[in-house]
């Protein structure tokens, strides 16, 4: 058996496969289809200091080799999350990575502080959601704003902090450097690309929010390129994601330099996708006599 375990910001994961925030809830629903113990970690749906109602429907639509979503970060708030979701995930031998969202710097810090005494392994900060008016992406498209919020969050966070970056920027490396220099322990990318679909029969937007975040294999080449660029610009580890449907896709990100990979939209196409990707990466390593996954991380040079 090849070694699949990886270390992310000082935290060891049994394998590099985690779920992408927002596609997996807190694991309760997918736990009926797969063994959550098989995952390197579960990245939860974004949670804020108070419950958020989210956007009006329709919130999702299919696009070629992808989908748009504009859920608007509906969540039950941090209190319910701590009482219900963390105890659920604690029953499994998998890392708990809590995705945090907010409308203001203070919102983020409140959640991060509330989590400091909770048994969670890592925090992922969502500064890249394209579907909410306040907060979200506003912090993730300006390097100065990203630097500031990262620095503030680091003051309050007890667990290692992963900043989740938006691809809706001119230069991803500029954002990556800003987050790293403010103290981010890791980066995850890419969040969704802002998109729009028009329903020509109804003569209006397919989504009530007009725009939504594009995900799925349609965005994978963009994501692989951005991960490749980012790992060359910073020294903190990277969680790569964007349209990973199978093990071969995950391996592209790892060879581009990602330490971990996140599976998102694929969960909707196959509720066992994440587990199959774990198996597939293992089978690939075995078949090529690669004894340790770290031996192929970032192997693609130039």
């Amino acid at each position: 058996m090849s070694n699949m375990s990886v270390t992310l910001a000082g935290v060891e994961l049994k394998n590099p496969v985690v779920t992408a925030s927002g596609t997996f809830g807190s694991g309760q629903e997918y736990g009926e289809f797969m063994d959550l113990n098989r995952l390197g970690g579960v990245v939860t749906k974004g949670v804020a200091n108070v419950p958020w109602t989210g956007n009006p429907v329709p919130r999702v639509c299919e696009t070629p080799s992808g989908m748009l979503n504009a859920i608007g970060l509906q969540n039950p708030g941090i209190d319910v999350f701590c009482e219900r979701d963390i105890p659920f995930l604690r029953k499994y031998d998998t890392r708990i990575i809590v995705n945090v969202c907010g409308r203001s710097e203070q919102d983020y810090c409140e959640v991060v502080e509330r989590l400091s005494d909770e048994p969670v392994d890592l925090l992922e900060i969502n500064v890249s959601c394209p579907n909410v008016r306040e907060g979200g992406i506003a912090f993730g498209q300006d390097p100065k704003a990203l630097f500031r919020i990262t620095q503030e969050i680091k003051k309050h966070a007890k667990q290692p902090v992963i900043m989740k970056l938006s691809p809706n920027v001119t230069d991803i490396t500029e954002m990556a450097r800003a987050a790293e220099s403010a103290g981010a322990d890791a980066l995850s990318l890419i969040n969704t690309l802002t998109g729009m679909k028009i329903d020509i029969n109804r003569r209006t937007f397919a989504l009530a929010n007009r725009t939504g975040g594009l995900s799925g294999p349609a965005i994978r080449p963009v994501a692989v390129r951005m991960v490749y660029e980012t790992v060359r610009a910073v020294s903190v580890p990277v969680i790569g994601m964007g349209g990973i449907m199978k093990a071969e896709d995950a391996l592209e990100f790892i060879m581009a330099g990602a330490t971990c990979v996140a599976v998102g939209t694929a969960n909707f196409h196959d509720p066992n996708a994440a587990e199959k990707i774990v198996d597939g990466i293992g089978a690939f390593l075995e078949s090529r006599n690669i004894s340790d996954i770290r031996d192929i991380r970032g192997i693609v040079q130039e």
């Binding site: 927002g22 596609t23 997996f24 809830g25 309760q28 629903e29 997918y30 009926e32 289809f33 749906k45 419950p51 958020w52 109602t53 989210g54 429907v57 329709p58 919130r59 999702v60 639509c61 299919e62 070629p64 080799s65 992808g66 989908m67 979503n69 859920i71 509906q74 039950p76 708030g77 319910v80 029969n201 799925g216 294999p217 939209t265 694929a266 969960n267 909707f268 196409h269 196959d270 509720p271 066992n272």
Partner: protein
């Protein structure tokens, strides 16, 4: 227990322009399914990632078969691709999903089953399940633009009232026009159909204090309650979401009419 099952197409026929009648060999899903639940059907086209939610028109537990009656939503759509598949073709299906109609709530009562358009098929399994219980007096109230697909099958198991927009069959107008012209009284109602019909049925039932359950529809992604793509507004704060939203795929699709805002 819901699961992802590799099913096989037994037969597929077009019963109305654009409406297809599909029987699947789906032993595990048939075994677990109940009236008012739905399944998610994955297309065989890898560029179409999301499953299509389709209601269960019939569940045959003994032979391990399920029947899906669906509308093709347009040219070059996933449902159009599905409509071209023949017997023997395998299909990935996730199900059974959602809660279904609370049959025990209307046992030995007089119940109206409102179905509108492509909301009619799930009422067929509901009518069959209720009719098996002889004390329950079932009337299906079926609303169409035109024609009357499936009406004969409903007649085998219950009383049927029909409304059509063009007056070609039954009462010209809506399902409520059909009920009013018949003068039929009932103790409870189940409904599935377009939003405007659900709103009218909800108002009608609530005005006369008749318990009413409605089956909602929305664009879905995961189909199992994880992504929060398909929510409906609820009157009270929902126990799971902690906001005024419930997940149609998981907490529904059937809701007590007074619990949801339409």
């Amino acid at each position: 227990m819901k699961q992802l099952e590799n099913c096989r197409i037994i037969s597929q026929t077009q019963i109305e322009p654009g409406i297809f009648d599909l029987w699947l060999e789906a032993g595990a899903i048939a075994d677990a399914a109940a009236a008012g639940q739905f399944v998610s059907v994955y297309t065989r086209d890898p560029s179409r990632l999301l499953p299509r939610p389709v209601s269960l028109a019939q569940i045959d537990r003994e032979s391990g078969r399920i029947r899906l009656i669906y509308r093709v939503t347009g040219p070059d759509t996933g449902t159009e691709q599905l409509s071209k598949l023949h017997a023997g073709v395998p299909l990935r299906v996730l199900g059974p999903l959602g809660n279904g109609f609370p049959l025990q709530e209307v046992r030995n009562k007089k119940v109206l089953l409102f179905g509108g358009g492509i909301g009619i098929p799930p009422m067929l399994e509901t009518a069959r399940a209720l009719a098996a219980d002889h004390g329950t007096e079932v009337t299906a109230v079926l609303g169409y633009r035109t024609g009357s697909f499936l009406a004969d099958e409903f007649r085998e198991v219950c009383h049927v009232l029909i409304s059509t927009e063009d007056g070609s069959v039954g009462t010209r107008g809506t399902v409520l026009d059909a009920v009013r012209s018949d003068g039929r009284q009932a103790d409870a109602a189940f409904a599935c159909g377009p939003r405007a019909m659900l709103r009218a049925v909800k108002e009608y039932c609530e005005a006369i204090n008749m318990p009413c359950w409605i089956s909602m529809e929305e664009r879905m992604a995961c189909g199992i309650g994880a992504c929060l793509g398909c929510v409906c507004e609820t009157k009270e704060v929902d126990g799971h979401s902690h906001v005024h939203n419930a997940r149609i795929c998981k907490d529904g699709p059937v809701f007590v009419s007074t619990e949801v805002v339409l």
